[in-house]
Amino acid sequence: MKKSISVSRRTVLWGLTGVLAAPAVMRATSAMADSGSLTFTGYGGSYQDAVAKAVITPFTEETGIKVNVVPAPDLARVKAQQLAGNVEWDVFDGASSEGATGSKDGLWEQLDLSSFDVADLAVAPTNEVVPWGIYAGGVAWDPTKFDAGKHPSTFADLFDVAKYPGRRTLFLNGPVMTLEAALLADGVSPKDVYPLDLDRAFKALDRVKASIPSWPATSTQTISLAQKGEVDFCCTFASRVKATNQPGGGAPLAFSFEQNLLDSEILTVIKGGPNKANAIKFVAYCLRPEVQARLNNQLGGVPVSKKARPMLSEEVRKWQPDYENPRNLFIDPSYWQANNAAVSARFKEWTVG
């Protein structure tokens, strides 16, 4: 009996190695070659369409490098891929807070900044995280339902449920931008927002909690909830609202530039990705002034390249936030790098409580 058990265990172990090693070897060889492609994470929706048209297609035409787009930028999956030593994605596109959190977790490849025109960038890159656009978040609504003066325009308005009754959504499901908006709504001056007064922010959020039916998981959802009439007012991004005013965008929404949160859209090269050289080429390409202008003429966003700004069309200029507006606030990624985990936990607890 004892003997038969030891035999079977050995057989099992051999089976294990044989069955599982074969695909591993196959896979390993195919992933080794820095092939003529790279994988880029995107956000889907109108944003994705614009990036594909203005950046990816011309990039492939110029370099011959094919770009696969995966529709779910997700830090957890980047981390999972790295822990397993099997990174599939090359370039990560996300918010500045995600870039900072990833830096803290060691997810990104070091970049050689001398290959970029750093002086041309309105927001300074770190040696891992490169800003490639600026986006403006603010209040949006359906103009067919709310005339001028009948809708909130600033965060203070949005948090004033008595004056503007109705259902509303704030920024994406998480504390980033949401807490900043809450403090601005509570009357904190933009220059005093950081470090965040968390107690005050959550107290302000308590005032609107009952009017918030959902925390959108993606920026497309912020738009679709408002378009479907599920909410009356929402916090979303100028470029997304612009897309609703174009053919095929669905019900047009309106966006307030009276008070905005500004944040940079960032690119990073994922550490251990299969196509590092191509990825770096792609990031450099994204920062070229003419590419920046082309993308943002499509998207309606704000180029990070200063040289690109004069190249913007008249139409797109209407969708630019006002940098001189004293009510606006720039998101500070260094705060979130240090505090994201703890504040996220508290935020989550608050939402279900």
Partner: protein, 275 residues
């Protein structure tokens, strides 16, 4: 059959399933358990931490409340349907049963999407109500507890109908005849015969949908509001948004233990019934 050939035959018949069990089913579970106790360090600190956390407790309560209410309502509705099916002639019963099973065989994604359209603030039902009462009616029926319950009940009812129907059909007609000859009123027959004798099916159905609903993910995520967070959603949150896998694993193990503690009696009871 002698011993060796029986072992060989067992190997032949069982090895494909055994390979799947050993190489596909077991490893992810073991990995999750391993992660939750901090690997070989075998520390239960995280369990203490998780159980003490307000977020976990709140979610646990929500999970039980949503599962409990939806299962109870599903049981009542499922009983009504099973009774109706049992009273139908065989042919019509087959067709009606098909109608009940159709939603069961339809993707939850499709149903969630449909409920968004149906129950939305500007959705079909609100539009009909607004038209009927000539007012702008915007009953909130999704992105809250109601939406979650409606979505859950919709997939639970067909599952609970099957075992109840089987129990009802197994009741001997002679029992009804005897009861009625002895002068029992229909209400009394219903309670003493129908309900009592279908109890095995009712219990089996109730426990199985309860266990399944504990792990619900899509319905609360798509039709629920911020407060309708269930344990699966919490696991997803920790693994995807916070990147805290040990904690996600710990909650997974707890969720698994809860599921097992409800599923085990069911399995034992089924086995005893078979013998």
């Amino acid at each position: 059959m002698n011993m060796t050939s029986s072992i060989r035959a067992t190997a032949i018949f069982m090895s494909p399933a055994a390979l799947i069990a050993i190489f596909i089913v077991m490893p992810p579970l073991l990995y999750v358990v391993y992660t939750s106790v901090n690997g070989l360090a075998f520390s239960l600190d995280l369990y203490a931490d998780v159980v003490a956390s307000k977020l976990f407790r709140q979610t646990l309560i929500t999970t039980f409340v949503i599962s409990g209410i939806s299962c109870f309502v599903s049981l009542v509705l499922g009983f009504v349907v099973a009774l109706h099916l049992a009273s139908q002639p065989a042919r019509r019963r087959a067709i009606l049963l098909g109608l009940v099973l159709l939603p069961l065989w339809t993707s939850i994604l499709v149903k969630c999407f449909a409920f968004m359209v149906l129950l939305g603030r500007e959705g079909v039902i609100n539009s009909i109500l607004s038209w009927a009462f000539d007012a702008h009616i915007q009953l909130p029926m999704i992105l809250n507890r109601i939406g979650t319950l409606i979505g859950m009940i919709n997939w639970q009812v067909p599952l609970v109908v099957l075992p109840i129907l089987a129990s009802l059909l197994a009741i001997d007609e002679a029992v009804y005849r005897a009861a009625s000859i002895m002068g029992a009123k229909p209400a009394r027959i219903f309670w003493t015969v129908t309900v009592r004798l279908s109890l095995p099916g009712v219990l089996a159905g109730l426990l199985s949908i309860f266990v399944m609903s504990l792990g619900s993910f899509m319905v609360p995520a798509l039709l629920g509001g911020p407060k309708d967070l269930m344990l699966s959603n919490l696991v997803d949150y920790y693994s995807r948004q916070v990147l805290d896998w040990p904690r996600a694993s710990t909650i997974s193990v707890i969720l698994f233990a809860i599921s097992v503690s409800f599923a085990a009696p069911l399995a034992l009871w089924r086995r005893s019934r078979r013998i």
